[in-house]
Amino acid sequence: MGVTLAEKLWASHVVRSAPGEPDLLFIDLHLVHEVTSPQAFDGLRLAGRGVRRTDLTLATEDHNIPTLDVERPIADPVSRTQVETLRRNCEEFGVRLHPLGDLDQGIVHVVGPQLGLTQPGTTVVCGDSHTSTHGAFGALAFGIGTSEVEHVLATQTLPQQRPKTMAVTVNGRLPEGVSAKDLVLTLIATVGTGGGQGYVVEYRGEAIRALSMEARMTICNMSIEWGAKAGLIAPDETTFDYVRGRPHAPRGAEWDAALAYWKTLVTDDDAEFDREVVLDSNEMAPFVTWGTNPGQGVPLSASVPAPEDFDDPHAQASARRALDYMDLQPGTSMRDIAVDTVFLGSCTNGRIEDLRAAAKVIEGRAVAPDTRMLVVPGSARVRLQAESEGLDVVFKAAGAEWRGAGCSMCLGMNPDQLTPGERSASTSNRNFEGRQGKGGRTHLVSPEVAAATAVLGHLGSTADLPATA
């Protein structure tokens, strides 16, 4: 019987396999940031250990850094200490770092692919759950905790239990105006936030194949939001074209050798998955969340559900709680929900195509008077690229704020936070209670819906906008 792509990736990274033990996997690329690494470096120091493979390790500053006045010292002393700690640790252990102000600084999951370090057939880990993003290249990529960060720093390996495999096949073609974000939000609402637990998921089918690399990253990024260990997509010409010529892409004969190998990275025709999910994308529509987990979503054209609409008692209790927290009444049309803040950015939707899509919607229009819009590019390079295309001018002319690169309001660790009761439409990945600031209320949306919402002042899509002059 054939094997799945996930199984091929797994098998090619097993350093040691023994009965009764988890497999020991080799890690090709370890990405590091300021928040989940300080205790790991401390652990190394305490044990007198070093970083085994500095040449497979890359650090950047993203979670806890400001997006305004980035040339000045960080105002919050606790944040500043954490960032300075990363700088000291990288210096001491010899780890490559792209700090705030550097041209290759940015969200760790934007920087890896951009530098060409994320490649098909690799294992990628980071102390961040959205490491699943890199699976879009046909890599086995997953988030780890700080103890595991220390383990990888010390050994370049991780003991891992072999996960089950799942196929998510998306047939058809996404209609015009419907994006990868809508697709993945639809998927999560269908399978539930725990639906992927214990699985490595392979996204496949016509709709997936038609997606650009950046859109594929959006899909894989959200794998963790339905509990999957990792999400991946078999590499193809779209993947190879994206990697080719990037700073760390193989060159010359090495490229040829790599490419020959990458072309073998497909699930065999006769391979069997432990579970299969099939979706049809032809009927998909802009999709938004109403609740406090990413599975609590509906099409934009629908209304806020009532707890009684759910069969499962946990889902009912969860819906009741979410409606209370979100201050929403069942039956309210999603389009009638007024929004205070629009956040465009994050490792889910902070890449150049996301900014282009939003700019296209907002060009020649203005952000509604009682609404603010923050545009936070995923990396310094994305910011520069956007500026070279004049996108910053489009956003600023519409009244949006054009910021420096980082995680920003996705998790509200830096000063970019919602105030209690404030409501956002956000292109990020999590609508958990308080995620974007204590008491803040988050609706997850696509970049296109975010831009249209900013103009309208309430949730809406491009189709709801009056024509521009």
């Binding site: 350093v15 040691r16 009764g20 020991l24 080799f26 690329l29 928040v35 989940t36 300080p38 401390d42 500095t54 040449d55 497979l56 919050d76 606790v78 944040s79 200490t81 954490q82 490559r96 041209l103 290759d104 530098l115 060409g116 690799t122 961040d128 759950s129 988030g143 905790g145 103890s147 595991e148 383990h151 010390a154 050994t155 370049q156 390996t157 003991p159 239990q161 936030t193 725990g194 637990q197 214990g198 963790i224 509990g227 260990k229 990037r246 760390h248 193989p250 090495e254 190998y261 987990n293 209790a317 390079r381 998790l411 509200g412 660790m413 999590r430 958990f432 209670e433 308080g434 204590k438």
Partner: protein, 206 residues
Amino acid sequence: MDKFTTHSGTAVPLRHSNVDTDQIIPAVYLKRVTRTGFHDGLFAAWRSDPDFVLNRPEHDGATVLVAGPDFGTGSSREHAVWALQDYGFRVVLSPRFGDIFRGNAGKSGLLAARVDESFVTALWDAVERDPSTPITVDLDQRIVRAGTESDAISAPFEIDDYTRWRLLEGLDDIAITLDHEAEIASYERNRPTWKPATLPARTSAE
């Protein structure tokens, strides 16, 4: 890591499903660079409500958290495990855990034990009836017992063999792996040269 064999204590019934790690500890508490001192961040938003179960005096000193399904989903922050431990919890019982949280718990010596949903409900009822209900979690036998003699209830729990063994022995993962250093070195020697490397550094400017 300290050895974990059997633990006895009282419990907190957390009648919530889908408790993500942002709820266990909000991001603003993650700025610290230490590994301890996160007790004040534990369920920080919910604790501002005086009626929140953790604020009730009858649960003072509890060491076992009993939660609904999908506990510890979302962010990979190991701070969630540290906050639970710093607050005094030694065990979390739930029908289903977020993968990364469960892994983190095992590394830090917090027992994350999967029990049937019906048993979670029974525990919630028992502890709400009598908050002093003694709970014993036996890792060796993989069994949870609650209550005394006549009204005692018990159920098996699930934990993977390897994590159980490490917890019972109090073993450090890194030391175990470094015993296999020769195998790592051998793998490295056979790795294709075209695999990506971060050093020497190349940037888009070149």
